[in-house]
Amino acid sequence: MTLLGTWIAAFLTLAIFSFLYKDNPVYKFAEHLYVGVSAGYMVIYVWATDVRPLLLDPFVQTHLQTRSWAISFSQHASLFIPATLGVVMLLRTFPKISWVSRWPISFLVGIGAGLAITADVQGYLFPQVQATLVPLWVGGSVLTTFNNILLFVGVVGTLAYFYFSREHKGFLGGLSRIGVLFIMVAFGASFGYTVMARISLLIGRIHFLFADWLHVVH
């Protein structure tokens, strides 16, 4: 079965790679198969990781312990609320009653926003601003002094560049120009790493073809 699976995987890999020559029916077949299987996979996954363990298993386990569905239902009655909201969310498909789906969406959005407000301040703003307030003179280490100054100037310059409430001229314009230079270096570094990422992904697939399928590499 593993051998068959490897050949299927190799065929599908080459089918996707065939797109590099030109768009063709084999590629389109593989692409549509991927979308279809992923969609079906998601349905089963939601059942296996959400509906069954969080909605059904609590009732079943309590029933196994107490031998009473009445006790089981009374203990876990509150679960009907998220279950109902979850199902109501799917009513978005029907235009006439799709307004009902706003309730679970509001629930999710409200929690997300509430969590984000405290997390943004505690996790982003405070630590990152604090880490920028580094000593601009470190006796005995020219390199650390230089790096600290660069870090501070870079952060302030970048913030100045993205401040669009005033025209970028004079002092703000100069600071913004410095910010642009730092942003360009960061984007360059990001491009370099992106190239690394893409080549790595290709290495992975070629390694599979040579090692697992053709066995010409160990």
Binding site: G5, A9, T13, I16, H32, Y34, G36, S38, A39, G40, Y41, V43, I44, Y45, V46, A48, T49, D50, L54, P82, G86, M89, L90, R102, W103, I105, L108, A113, G114, L115, I117, T118, D120, Y124, L125, T132, N147, G154, G157, T158, F162, L181, F182, I183, M184, V185, A186, F187, G188, A189, G192, Y193, T194, V195, M196, R198, L201, G204, R205, F208
Partner: protein
């Protein structure tokens, strides 16, 4: 009422989350924990959103024999294959995710190679883009280019072979100018996100209701 009740739900749930951050003890903490558990259950159903419209779209394409309808058969068969194997694995193995189940076989030999190969195509496109579009037209573009080349070489063994200090230079670029610029961007983004979250909580931002 169709808009007012959702806005009230948004406000109340958001407020519970903020209050339980400062008061994690019972009963507030208990309410917060319960609400988060409900979030997990409801969020699972969001993963299913879109699947119905995907299937509906392709069924319509099939019905009307629109261009590419034969591929729609492949898509729908793919959905049925995954559902069928998933249900069979649940019944026979006790869990679709059981090691060695047909569902996991489908995942390992179909989903994994398809997904991995789709993304590996990007290596070819980035090479093509680098050749055709990456031009040192201005000082800024040249700076970007130079930084990119230093990092690309410094991050592979070849760079150390060319010049021993190249990896150090690449590491310095990541730790100092890169960290400074990305931090500046993050501070700006987080201030914006904070403002947006407040607007949502207070009902000023309502686009999520449409």
């Amino acid at each position: 009422m169709k808009r007012e009740i959702p806005l009230l739900i948004t406000f109340l749930t958001g407020l519970i989350m903020i209050v339980q951050f400062f008061v994690p003890h019972r009963p507030i903490g208990g309410i917060g924990t319960g609400v988060l558990s409900w979030y997990t259950i409801i969020a699972g159903f969001t993963l299913l959103l879109g699947i119905d419209s995907l299937i509906g779209l392709h069924l319509k394409k099939l019905q009307r024999r629109q261009s590419g309808w034969s591929y729609s058969i492949t898509l729908i068969l793919g959905v049925l294959l995954a559902l069928g194997l998933g249900i069979w694995s649940e019944v026979k193995y006790g869990s679709a995710l059981a090691f060695g189940s047909p569902f996991m076989y489908l995942y390992t030999y179909l989903v994994v190679p398809l997904q991995a190969t789709m993304f590996s195509l990007l290596a070819f496109f980035i090479a093509s883009a680098a050749y055709r579009a990456f031009r040192a037209r201005t000082l800024e573009a040249s700076l970007l280019l130079v930084a990119a080349m230093i990092v690309m070489l410094g991050r592979v063994p070849l760079g150390a072979a060319i010049w021993g200090k190249l990896p150090l230079l690449a590491e310095w670029i990541m730790n100092t100018p890169n960290a400074a610029a990305t931090r500046g961007i993050l501070i700006g983004v987080s201030l914006g996100a904070l403002a947006m979250s407040l607007r949502i909580l207070l009902g000023i931002e309502r686009t999520y209701l449409s």
